[in-house]
């Protein structure tokens, strides 16, 4: 024992060892690389292969982009400037971008009108998309379609005004009579709206459009990405409510309504969209006298809306079917009638489940709007394939134009997708 106490102790720790940095291979970038890119032989090989692939891709595309020519009057001139180097001919975008955005016939001095309509659209959508915003903004959303119509098509302000008055009065009628009997309110509203529109239409003088403040622009003069946006926005916003109605109708106990909805959905889903568009553009012309055809834009909107409504209806039916039966019974046991049960209990849950599906349809529909180029409407793709590639100056410029089109579509579709993910997080009420 004594020996032990007498012998001096070799080392006593009288404090903490100063913290030393972790080994280089266990920290920072190196650690991340080791864990994520080089964690094994197989992964290392894959990483190296991917790097080579990325290098090969960039090696060719980056010079192509950075050497791009922005100032030239034709493809031949682009090639002269490049003098054999690899490089894009972005000059076509610089010269023709108004045509790509607005089409080739929209009056140049009226470009501010669709621009303003676009900005107002963002304002109008805000309260619908982000429900933390004050609810009073919805009033603007309700008026927006009429403002946008007036801005884009121009002409007499009386036309959208009459349409607006018709809608407001019809809404009032529905409020008043709908409480007692849904059918009375519903059909009463339709009749009142039709009466107002007809009387108003007859009262507007023929010449009202000619010296209007905003010069009128016929539908066939619309084009470019503006047309895609207009078709996409209009059809998505119309087809969601229609799809909900169809989905509920398909579950209805009333056989007539049920079968109308079933046949509509199955028929429309069974026909390719392009066939419907051909019917809209070609066949319908046979059934109208030549001078009183329904506007082509309207015909196309109706067809695309019907098409996407059928899909959205099925998506929402999936959402409705996913709800446990208890939810319906709970609503019944609270004494709620059908509209109340749907509005307060069933639909909020079913729609939440359906969000990814609806967004999927919306993104697909937005991209499908380029199909109108086959019925000779000059949307973004129609402009590229038709007038621009057919001009003697720009025939042969493919990558630049189609790349630009992809970029525009990607921005919008990615935006929609990000919004839907935010919406799902925001609506998540389950606990983890």
């Amino acid at each position: 024992m004594a020996d032990q106490t007498n012998n001096p102790i070799a080392f006593v720790a009288d404090g903490n060892i100063p913290e030393s940095p972790p080994p280089a291979r266990e920290t920072g970038v190196v650690k991340w690389l080791r864990e994520n890119l080089f964690s094994g032989v197989a992964n290392t090989i894959l990483t190296v292969l991917s790097l080579i692939l990325i290098y090969l891709l960039l090696k060719n595309t980056l010079p192509w982009i950075f050497n791009g020519v922005w100032n030239a009057n034709s493809l031949a001139e682009c090639r002269e400037i490049l003098a054999g180097k690899t490089g894009a001919c972005f000059a076509v975008l610089a010269e023709r971008w108004p045509q790509l955005i607005y089409g080739f016939k929209y009056p140049v001095d009226a470009y501010w009108r669709p621009n303003l309509a676009f900005i107002l659209m963002l304002v109008a959508f805000a309260p619908v998309l982000f429900f933390d915003l004050p609810r009073k903004l919805l009033l603007f959303t309700a008026v927006y379609p009429f403002i946008a119509f007036w801005l884009i098509w121009g002409g007499s302000i009386l036309v959208p005004l009459v349409a607006l008055i018709g809608c407001v009065v019809a809404g009032g009628v529905f409020q008043k009579f709908g409480k007692n009997s849904f059918a009375a309110g519903f059909f009463g509203a339709i009749v009142v709206a039709l009466v107002i529109w007809n009387i108003g239409g007859a009262l507007i003088p023929e010449s009202a459009s000619e010296n209007a403040w905003l010069s009128p622009v016929p539908s066939r003069d619309l084009g470019g990405f503006m047309l895609n946006m207009m078709l996409g926005v209009t059809c998505v916003s119309l087809s969601v409510p229609l799809g909900i109605a169809l989905a509920l109708g398909r579950q209805s106990n009333m056989p007539l309504i049920k079968w109308v909805c079933v046949i509509f959905i199955e028929f429309i889903r069974g026909v390719p969209l392009i066939t419907l568009l051909f019917v809209a553009s070609v066949m319908l012309a046979y059934f109208f006298p030549p001078d009183s055809t329904v506007d082509l834009f309207l015909r196309v909107v109706i067809m695309i809306t019907m098409f996407s409504a059928a899909y959205i209806a099925e998506v929402i039916r999936g959402g409705l079917a996913a709800l446990p039966r208890g939810q319906y019974e709970a609503a019944d046991s609270l004494g709620l009638d059908y509209p109340q049960a749907m509005r307060l209990i069933i639909l909020p849950q079913a729609l939440k489940i359906s969000i990814p599906g609806i967004v999927n349809v919306a993104v697909g529909l937005f991209k499908d709007t380029v199909l109108v180029s086959v019925i000779s409407m000059f949307d973004l793709l129609g402009m590229i394939r038709g007038p621009i590639l057919a001009s003697t100056e720009w025939n042969g410029v493919y990558w630049e134009l189609l790349g630009f089109a992809s970029l525009l579509f990607f921005v919008v579709c990615y935006g929609i997708s990000q919004y839907s993910q935010w919406l799902e997080r925001r609506l998540a009420t389950d606990h983890h």
Binding site: S376, G386, T392
Partner: protein
Amino acid sequence: MKKSVILGAATVAGLAAGAAVAGTVDDVKARGTLNCGVTTGLVGFAAPDANGEWQGFDVSVCRAVAAAVLGDANAVEFVPTTGKTRFTALASGEIDMLARNTTWTFSRDVDLKFEFVGVNYYDGQGFMVPKALGVSSAKELDGARVCIQTGTTTELNLADFFRANNISYEPVPIETNAEAQQQYLAGACDVYTTDASGLAATRATFESPDEHVLLPEIISKEPLGPLVRHGDHEWGDVVRWTLNAMISAEELGVTSANIDELSAGTDNPEVNRLLGTEGTLGEMLGLDADWAARAVKAGGNYGEVFAKNIGEETPIGLARGLNAQWTDGGLLYSPPFR
């Protein structure tokens, strides 16, 4: 009951279509604009320029007709049509005439009930090869890989031609002209075949057009011309003779430059009859005397229109070839103005 409703609707539609057919000249005059069907875009033949103004060879025909009937070459509403929508647009009365490099064939004329009023461009299927291939005739193409658009008459013509000459080929099917350009330039095929005017336009877009040649053989007949509906002969006559006026004007040496001078009266009675200083040709057509003078003034005579849009001075660089006047060994032969 239901049946009668459907029949009734069909009758109304039929009547409406019938009403549209009668008196197109009067319809156009009342409307003040000519609805002319064109392509959605074809290099040199019809395409809007950077300012949105339609330009091209087919477009000039529309403008000439508008000038003859309405006195204003810009009173045209151009209705772009695709290969699929063009005939229904004409049949339904949406357009008054179609000038959309449409081939005049038996079935289109007879079965589809249209009336081709003439030919404004004699096209035909040709071949393009790289110069490096060292081929000077299509008959030397034995064993060649040929880029060909599927489902077109060009595909059938090609098979016929190679079989008739007892040589073999390997087809490389492609879908569109754009795809063909890429495949051909990438060397996926040795030969590209389509209408000769299309080949010339395609070649004009190449980085080095001189390295490619068009072979002399033309293996099919593709007469392209404007057309109207069956059954309205007054209107058909107007369009036919407007086209003939453009062709005759070139033959008689009437150009947009000297037309004002010639309109004052010349020693050549045929020129006088064409320009309306002699005879009553315009009246017979239901138009005024100087209808043809206006038509020629709109864009020039046939030769001027050709040179401006697709001729050798343009990037497309088509030679007159078959489209020269008959006096120069071509096929253009307008009946006399008498």
